[in-house]
C-alpha cells in the first residue's frame, strides 16, 4: 500500500514539476497518436462513408471484414508492419523501422478499421432516403456524401474517440515497430511498461496517470461537443 501511496505522490510531483523526460514522452505520445488518429479519421471516414452509401456486390462481406478488423490484435499488426519495414522487407529501403513514423503507420492501421466500422454503422443508421433527398435537392454525389457525414457527425465523434483511445493506449505494435528508444520512440505506454519492469513504480504510476488524464481530456472535449449536438436536437 505504501508503495502505491508513494507512487502517487511521486507521480504528482513529476507531473507538476514538468519533468522534462515525462513531458517529452507525453508530447511524443500525443503527436504520434494524434497524427495516427487524424490519418485514420481521414481514411476511415472516407472509406466508411463510401461503403455506407454505395450498394455493390460483396458489400456485406467487406463490412464483416471491417468489423472483424476493429478487434484485430495490435501486436499482430505490429508484427506485419515490422516485417514490411524490416531492412530486407518490401519497404525496408525507406528506413522507417524504429522511428516515430513507423509507430504512426502501425497505429493508423489499428485505428482505421475502428473509425471505418463505426462510420459504416453511423451512415447505415441514417434514414435510407436521406441520400435521395440530398440528391433531389440538387446536390452532387460529393455534396451528398458530405451532407450525410455531417448528419452522422455525432456517432462519428464516437469513432474518433474510439480510434484515439485505441491507439494511445496500445503498446504491442508501438514497442515492436518503435523499439522504445529513449528520446526517439518512447511513448507513454512503452515507457510505463519498461519502468514497471525495472521496478520504478513511481515513474510508471506517473506515466499511467498522465495517460489516463490525456484520454480523459480528449474524450471530455469530444463528449462535450457530442452532448452540445444532442441538446440542439
Amino acid at each position: 500500500m505504501d508503495l502505491l501511496i508513494s507512487g502517487f505522490r511521486e507521480a504528482i510531483r513529476l507531473i507538476f514539476s514538468f519533468d522534462s523526460e515525462v513531458f517529452s514522452i507525453t508530447l511524443l505520445s500525443l503527436k504520434i497518436s494524434g497524427l495516427a488518429t487524424l490519418l485514420s479519421v481521414f481514411i476511415g471516414i472516407s472509406l466508411g462513408a463510401a461503403i455506407g452509401i454505395t450498394q455493390f456486390w460483396g458489400r456485406r462481406a467487406i463490412i464483416s471484414v471491417v468489423n472483424t478488423c476493429m478487434g484485430f490484435p495490435p501486436v499482430v499488426i505490429g508484427l506485419f508492419v515490422t516485417i514490411f519495414l524490416w531492412r530486407s522487407g518490401p519497404f525496408g529501403f525507406l528506413g522507417l523501422l524504429y522511428t516515430p513514423t513507423a509507430i504512426v503507420i502501425a497505429q493508423t492501421i489499428i485505428a482505421t478499421p475502428i473509425v471505418m466500422g463505426i462510420t459504416v454503422a453511423a451512415i447505415n443508421q441514417l434514414p435510407e432516403k436521406l441520400r435521395l433527398q440530398a440528391l433531389a435537392l440538387g446536390a452532387t454525389r460529393l455534396q451528398t456524401v458530405w451532407a450525410l457525414i455531417k448528419e452522422a457527425r455525432l456517432p462519428l465523434l464516437a469513432a474518433i474517440m474510439a480510434g484515439f483511445g485505441g491507439v494511445i493506449s496500445e503498446i504491442g505494435a508501438s514497442i515492436m515497430v518503435g523499439g522504445n528508444i529513449k528520446g526517439h520512440t518512447r511513448v507513454l505506454t512503452t515507457a510505463t511498461a519498461m519502468e514497471t519492469s525495472r521496478g520504478n513504480f513511481e515513474l510508471a504510476i506517473a506515466l499511467g496517470i498522465i495517460l489516463l488524464l490525456l484520454m480523459l481530456l480528449v474524450n471530455t472535449i469530444l463528449t462535450s461537443i457530442q452532448m452540445k449536438g444532442q441538446t440542439q436536437r
Binding site: L132, A136, G138, A139, R233
Partner: protein, 359 residues
C-alpha cells in the same frame, strides 16, 4: 403545346422482377397528377423515375423534349424538380438552413437566399421557427419545413410521396390548403403519390392508377372516378362494392346483366356470356319509401338496410337487394325517410350509372 415532362418506354427491374413498366407518360406545365395503386404497385418507383433518382433498365426521361442524361445532365434536371417524401428528412440543423440548403447548392447570393427562405417560411406560416433546430419540430411543423424546402427552389415539377400520411387530419388539411394555393400560384406541375381520395381530389386534376408496375388507368380524375378500370381504382374512387356477374343480352348497347340471380340493366359494349364487374357510385343510388318503377331509372329493387354509417354531413347506407349495394344520403334524408338498420326500402339507379368492366 409541348409537354413539360415526358417518360418514354421506362422499365425498372429488381433482379428479374419488373417493378415498373411505363411505355409513355407526359405532363404539361401546371397539371397535377395523383398517383394511386395498391402497395407494391410501383408508385414511389414512378416518382423516383420522374425525379431521375431511379436506375432504369431501359427508357428515357425528357424535360421540354431535352433528354435527361444526354441533352440535359441529371444534376441540371434535378435542379428543376423537387421531391418531398413521407418522412420530412430534415437535416440536423436549423429550419432556416434546411430550407436554404438547395438554394446554396444553386449558388444564389446570401441576400436572395435569406429573402426567399423567409418568404416561403411565411407561406407555410412557420416564419417564427427559422432559428429553431429542425429536430425539435412537431410532425406537422417538420412537414411544412420539408414542403417549404422543396417549394423555395421554385421547381418546375414537384413530386410528393405521401407527404401527409403521417400527419393528423386537421394538420394535413391545413398544409394541403397552403400547398394548393402555392402550387396554383406558381403553375408548378405536381405528381402526388397518395392513398387518400380527399388529398387527390384537393390537389390533383388527373389520376394515374398503377398495378403490378403498370399503368392500368390514366385520365381526368372526374372521368376515372365515374369509370374506374378495376376494383382498386373503384375502391379509391369511393365505390366500396363491386358486383360481379354475366352479360345475359345486348340490345343496341343496353345490356341485361345477371348479378346474384337478379337482373340489372346497364350500358356497355359487351356480348352476352361475358363476365363483367359492375361499379355503381353510391351517390347514383337513389333510396325511396315508395316503389319508383315509373321513373326513368331502369333499375328498381326492394331492399333492406343492413348498415348506416355517419360521415359528417352525410350517411353511407348499405343495402341488401339480393346483392349488396351502397348509397350516400344527406343526414336530413336519413331523418325524413327514417332510415335505420332493418328497414325495408326501394333502391333505384340508372342503367348509365352502372360502369361495367370486362373480367
Amino acid at each position: 403545346m409541348s409537354a413539360l415532362i415526358t417518360i418514354k418506354d421506362i422499365l425498372v427491374k429488381k433482379g428479374v422482377r419488373i417493378i415498373l413498366d411505363v411505355p409513355y407518360l407526359s405532363a404539361q406545365r401546371g397539371e397535377s397528377f395523383a398517383i394511386v395503386g395498391p402497395n407494391g404497385a410501383g408508385k414511389t418507383t414512378l416518382l423516383m423515375c420522374l425525379s431521375c433518382l431511379e436506375r432504369l433498365a431501359r427508357g428515357s426521361l425528357f424535360l421540354r423534349e431535352q433528354q435527361v442524361g444526354k441533352e440535359l445532365s441529371n444534376l441540371d434536371f434535378r435542379k428543376k424538380t423537387a421531391v418531398v417524401f413521407q418522412q420530412s428528412l430534415l437535416f440536423n440543423t436549423s429550419v432556416f438552413d434546411n430550407v436554404a440548403y438547395g438554394l446554396r447548392l444553386r449558388n444564389l447570393s446570401k441576400q436572395e437566399i435569406a429573402s426567399r427562405v423567409m418568404d416561403y417560411l411565411g407561406y407555410f406560416n412557420i416564419g417564427d421557427l427559422a432559428k429553431r433546430s429542425a429536430r425539435t419540430l412537431s410532425g406537422g411543423e417538420a412537414q411544412r419545413v420539408a414542403l417549404a424546402r422543396a417549394l423555395v427552389l421554385e421547381p418546375e415539377v414537384l413530386l410528393l410521396d405521401e407527404p401527409f400520411a403521417s400527419l393528423d387530419a386537421p394538420t394535413s388539411e391545413k398544409i394541403i390548403t397552403e400547398l394548393k394555393s402555392t402550387v396554383k400560384k406558381t403553375s408548378t406541375t405536381l405528381f402526388l403519390v397518395t392513398h387518400n381520395r380527399l388529398e387527390a381530389l384537393q390537389l390533383a386534376n388527373k389520376l394515374i392508377a398503377l398495378e403490378n408496375g403498370r399503368i392500368v388507368q390514366e385520365g381526368f380524375l372526374i372521368d376515372v372516378f365515374q369509370k374506374p378500370a378495376n376494383d382498386f381504382v373503384a375502391s379509391f374512387a369511393g365505390i366500396d362494392v363491386v358486383l360481379r356477374g354475366e352479360v345475359m343480352e345486348n340490345h343496341d348497347g343496353l345490356l341485361g346483366v345477371k348479378i346474384a340471380n337478379k337482373r340489372i340493366e346497364a350500358v356497355g359494349p359487351f356480348d352476352s356470356g361475358r363476365r363483367v364487374a359492375a361499379f355503381i357510385r353510391p351517390e347514383n343510388v337513389v333510396l325511396s319509401i315508395a316503389d319508383l318503377s315509373h321513373i326513368s331509372a331502369k333499375n328498381h329493387f326492394p331492399a333492406k338496410i343492413i348498415d348506416t354509417v355517419p360521415f359528417g354531413h352525410y350517411h353511407k347506407v348499405t343495402l341488401d337487394c339480393g346483392f349488396v349495394i351502397n348509397s350516400v344520403v344527406t343526414n336530413s334524408t336519413v331523418t325524413e325517410l327514417g332510415l335505420a338498420i332493418g328497414k325495408d326500402i326501394f333502391v333505384s339507379f340508372k342503367a348509365t350509372a352502372v360502369h361495367l368492366v370486362a373480367e
